[in-house]
Symmetry: C2
Subunit: 453 residues, 2 copies
């Protein structure tokens, strides 16, 4: 018999880890609900027809495919088998795959339930996704996503709400963050102005390095990327852009004056920043021109959140996209959404030691088991403690005292109760505070009062 193992890139979660993860999920969930988002769940498996072609060629390769049940080879000819083409064969023997993200299943959901839902539709979804990525530190093949999207509304108030949600969640979690915002239309405008539409990603990557390598080296890198001298000259005010959001917007307004799409981006950003300034954000919302995430996907505002007190990649992101449901035959629906990165938030909270003590749902009170007579005496007291909401255990076996106390210690149970002949006669139990070591005889009512604290 070989040692059991789990598939690489997957994880078991112990009770201690679960308590911390539930704290994160519950916080996000309650904030989503506070903003009127409604929860849905979709199946772990989707048809490959739904999944394929939605995540690029690389994404298709990273899908986990589920083998058809029964005699899955009946539909495959001898010739097809002999070809030994893994990719071609997989589309014959697999019709289903595991969810790769929550966005495509959501688009599919909206189209399939179009007659039941009311637009604008605000949904949130907290479920696992699976990707056959090469596992590495902090990257898993199974992980949770925590998404919220609004579809069916072009209003920029939705963007404002999502900023408020990010602000509120991290405020509640006690993580100081910077919320970065940009707009895809601004980037399109820049590309238009400098005449380098194809190079917009290279440009933003180079600009992003200004603080680290200085202006000369940024320009050098732009040259290496094949950007023309004329374009680089034009780009100087964008590269050295600094100051407050309003100062940045002013510079960009001049820069983009002749670009219609660019000016639309300015207008959108100004609306969002202005509205956000009226709702008392606790974290900084900063316009960051180098933010460029998922260029092919997003069409308007884009967001990213960075933790301030520990180095870590983006812990939340999102943006505005057009025509999400078009791929499933329901065109003209715009949407905007965000996704919290639960695994990275988990690491940040661990690193900064920010988990509140009271998130545990661990046992509060353990009754020692001395044998059948004592147990019989304790059972109604145990039941009463539970009726009063105290998470209570009775040690199931009449094991040695040392073993039972070791169990209490290992599970960090703060109170231990016991009853022998003396206690039974008096109708009390002895209650021991495991932290202070103090113990006293108390009535069942007193016990409940003390443990509830």
């Amino acid at each position: 018999m070989s040692k059991p193992s789990i598939p690489k890139g997957t994880r078991d979660f112990t009770p201690a880890e679960m308590a911390k993860r539930n704290y994160i999920f519950d916080t996000i969930r309650s904030v989503y609900a506070l903003y009127g988002f409604k929860q849905i769940e979709t199946p772990a498996m989707e048809t490959l027809q739904t999944l394929l072609g939605k995540y690029g060629e690389e994404g298709d390769k990273l899908l986990f495919r589920v083998l058809n049940s029964g005699d899955y080879l009946t539909k495959v000819s001898d010739e097809q088998l002999a070809e030994r083409n893994s990719l071609a064969l997989s589309s014959k023997i697999c019709e289903k795959g595991l969810r790769y993200d929550l966005t495509v299943p959501f688009a599919r959901f909206v189209v399939m339930h179009r007659d039941e839902i009311q637009l604008p539709f605000k949904r949130y979804q907290i479920q696992t996704v699976w990707r056959a990525d090469r596992p590495q530190k902090g990257r898993y093949r199974e992980f949770y996503q925590c998404d919220a999207d609004i579809v069916g509304s072009d209003s920029l108030l939705n963007e404002v709400e999502l900023v408020q949600i990010m602000d509120t969640v991290f405020q509640r979690l006690g993580i100081r963050v910077q919320i970065k915002i940009n707009n895809r239309k601004l980037l399109s405008g820049i590309a238009e102005i400098v005449g380098e539409a194809e190079k917009i990603v290279d440009i933003t990557v180079a600009i992003d390095k200004l603080d680290k390598i200085g202006l000369d080296k940024v320009n050098e890198e732009l040259r290496t990327d094949g950007i023309s001298e004329e374009a680089i000259a034009k780009l100087q005010p964008v590269i050295t852009l600094s100051g407050s959001n309003e100062e940045k917007l002013k510079v960009m307004e001049d820069f983009l004056a002749s670009s219609e799409v660019g000016m639309k981006g300015i207008e959108e950003l100004r609306f969002i920043l202005n509205a956000a300034s009226q709702v008392d954000l606790k974290n900084e919302l900063q316009l960051d021109l180098t933010l460029a995430r998922g260029l092919n996907y997003y069409t308007g505002a884009i967001f990213e959140v960075k933790a301030l007190d520990t180095p870590m990649g983006s812990i939340t992101g999102g943006g505005r996209y057009d025509n999400l449901t078009g791929i499933f035959g329901m065109p003209g629906i715009s949407g905007v959404g965000i996704s919290f990165g639960a695994d990275r938030i988990y690491d940040v909270l661990n690193t900064l030691d920010l988990y509140p003590k009271e998130i545990t749902t661990d046992t509060q009170l353990l009754f020692i088991n001395f044998g059948e007579k004592e147990t019989c005496y304790c059972l109604p007291v145990v039941a009463k403690a539970r009726q009063n909401g105290i998470r209570t255990e009775m040690f199931p076996d009449a094991a040695k005292m040392k073993k039972q106390m070791a169990y209490a210690n290992a599970n960090a149970i703060p109170y231990v109760a016991l009853a022998g002949d003396d206690e039974i006669q008096k109708g009390v139990v002895t209650l021991k505070n495991m932290e202070t070591g103090e113990q006293e005889q108390v009535t069942p009512e007193q016990l409940i009062e003390i443990v509830k604290g």
Copy 2:
């Protein structure tokens, strides 16, 4: 573009369904915690080595297998391909499968984490499982299981706790139930006494029909099943067994007097029933000799729960098993567990209309959007309502009043707030109670007070 669909036997859950399902899961979760059980989660995918051979030949066929990533055919020879043996090939091209239940992953967890956990280990787990069953009404290919198990303790107090948990969960859900209990050792004893060890399932099935078909027909069925006349004669007191649990135990004690295993079963049942009588159960705990679930699996007490007020199969079940972790090389660990059938409980609550009204996390207050100026005025009031815990939405678009009110109605939002020139001037909003139709001008503070109720 074809219409999108989801794999057969799987489901989307809408917000209304999610609220009900979360109510069930939260109820079960909180009772498990109250009894000191700790939550774990395991990966959706397990290695096929972990899964295969654990659920019988039929179970192996019902496993969903996940195709290996990359060029999965490299390990397959031309000869193996040419054989066209689906089952044999699948073990070459798939190393992983989807979780089929929560018990085997739990056993694997205990063995892999043996150095981290303290025995007895009380764990609960609420996760989806997947089975390639033929989909039919009420049977799905993806469904939740809600399991609690204690491993590493032979004490019958564990059985008593599980009975209390079942009792408490259904009491909290408002479902009147009968908790049935039997003991595998009793059934072994009966088989031993009547000399028909192989026929114990047929015997219990026939006995179970007494109420419906009468004694003569039960005996006839036993004859058809090939039970000897001598055995049938011996079985008469068992078939006509009735009365209180104690009366049944007395009859069975006489019947099983010469069977060591049978008498052990009586002793175990008596302990559990006696202890249970001291903890004030709200539902009836009934000894039912015809209860025989999963004979090969269980070794001691077995449980099943039936709803009293609506016809429905077993909605919860469980029992004592030995040597759960033996299959993974860690012998000698006994366990006992139960599993709540969330899908059936969902149906029972629907049929009996037992969902409390307050389980919704729907929006409580909608602000009407009249345009930018009015929105600007409302935004801080919206923020304030949310700070006070009111689930609040601002309609994102300045759409026609009719459309916005339709949104409020479709989402059953109880309060709608609006502000025009008059309200802005006075520093108030107009609050409309959607149920009564009444509306009045109120200050932001009054609004919060009224909506919070």
